[in-house]
Amino acid sequence: MKSYPISIKPFGERAVLVEWPEKVSESILADILDFMDAFKELEIPGWEMSVAYNSLTMVYNQDHIDFEETKNMILECHEKQAKSKTERIQHLWTLPVCYDLEFGMDIEEASKTLGLSVKELIEQHTSHQYVVYGIGFLPGFMYLGGLPTSLEIPRRAEPRLKVQKGSVGLASKQTGIYPQDSPGGWNIIGNCPINLFDPTKKDPCFVKVGDKIQFESISKAEYKLHKIEGEVGIYEPEKVVLNA
């Protein structure tokens, strides 16, 4: 596969921004992940990389960098990447969401705005697979792509000062889960009982960029059960390997 063209910009004294064509696309994301794998194979300690849609921020923790030198290293790695593709394991995670009004305080209003019944909104929200295009904003917050246009709804006019941890929201082309209590302007339609960020674990965030997410509607009783299971550490979200 031919890789996409990239552009490299300086970003302060120890970072660069690598940009792919400005589109939300699974094949661009795959190209970014291929590049990251190829770069990791160089085994240069001190580089941190984070993806967001079509860009990769690369930060060197150890020192200031020489931009031209870094740029050449990246271009060379990008050239080579097409030849040696590593196999990546990606998962589809099924995440339970309780759409009960107790949690989804905006679901009735959002349904009306979208011209759907609450049941139809839930059906549509749970029938798609969403691609994780980045993790950022808050620890464990996933940028998800692939929301059907029928669920596109503007942000709330006034953000809430506190959105509860686990809240599942809709805002324009995005859907997502608040991994912690936070101010926020998304329309809240439910709550996911799973802890998406746990700093006590060796791997604090089980979802990886490039994975997919599908939501599953659960009852209040199941929500409470999963919440307790999560607190005592015996709940594992369901996953399947996508590219086995």
């Binding site: 004294e13 984070s50 993790i135 620890p139 917050f141």
Partner: protein
């Protein structure tokens, strides 16, 4: 143990930061004014990453229960050890029962307390820096106890230094940010020809500036941000991300502060004036 008798306005434990976790959205955190921390740790001959206490404007009251050596740095906040005034950048011995307390803020905004060997609080994701919810608390509170090692005697190579305070500067050196080219000639004039003041919205996450510049209607895909990234909102507000700042954002990143200038800005408070200079 160092016992917190009064926590002050916003006191935290910080090292140089939490590296290697930005891919899961964890901010770097770490001391806001790295320059001041490095100097205090240098006088104590500590590792430069040794954990210190960061004090914001109003200092805490702290009780020592073990012999060690301390050094204060950063903002000038009147400080006393057992009611005797003490100076910044001076290595001092502390013993069981000694009380460090702080009074009036004179210059700067953030002070530091470093101790021989560094504070030994629990590391989370490879760092001592407090950042909720990565760590259980966001800042120190009454009754907290922070472990440190006993040092019965220490002969510092240099026991005090005179420092040219970087926080008396008010020029921020900036590089072009990734979206610098979006700026019009008019916006460039506004940014570089006028002084700006720090708004009330300033904390470890970000500093917002009071004055607006001409806005924009550019929409972009969310992308990475760093401490020192200057974002421009559609309304024309400049927001400078700091150490606890989010790892991604959706506003154009017009400028990027030099690391030295992050330390300069960390010592600014509401109403302070600053200027940008492109390097």
């Amino acid at each position: 143990m160092l016992k917190v008798l009064k926590p002050g306005l916003y006191s935290t434990i910080q090292d140089l930061g939490r590296f290697g976790h930005r891919d899961i959205g964890v901010p770097i955190s770490g001391a806001m004014d790295v320059e001041s921390v490095k100097k205090a740790n240098m006088l104590l001959e500590n590792d430069e990453n040794a954990a210190v206490i960061e004090i914001t404007m109003t200092g805490p009251t702290l009780l020592f229960d073990t012999t060690s050596y301390i050094c204060l740095s950063g903002a000038h906040i009147v400080a006393t050890l057992n009611n005797q005034p003490i100076d910044n950048y001076t290595v001092l011995k502390v013993e069981k029962g000694d009380i460090l307390s702080y009074g009036r803020l004179e210059t700067g905004f953030r002070g530091y307390l470093a101790i021989k060997g560094g504070f030994q609080s629990k590391k989370v994701l490879d760092s001592h820096s407090l950042f909720f919810p990565v760590t259980k608390s966001a800042r120190l509170k009454d009754g907290d106890e922070i472990p440190y090692k006993e040092t019965l005697s220490y002969e510092p190579k240099i026991s005090e230094i005179k420092i040219e305070e970087h926080f008396e500067k008010n020029t921020l050196k900036v590089y072009k940010g990734p979206e610098f080219s979006l700026l019009s000639d008019g916006q460039l004039m506004e940014i570089f020809a006028k002084p700006y003041t720090v708004s009330k919205e300033n904390n470890r996450m970000a500093y917002q500036l009071s004055e607006l510049i001409t806005g924009h209607s550019h929409s972009m895909l969310t992308s990475g941000t760093l401490p020192g990234t200057v974002q421009l909102t559609p309304a024309g507000r400049m927001i400078i991300l700091m150490k606890d700042g989010q790892t991604t954002g959706g506003y154009p990143r017009i400028l990027q502060l030099s690391e030295e200038s992050i330390s300069v800005l960390a010592q600014k408070k509401y109403g302070d004036e600053l200027k940008f200079k492109l390097v």
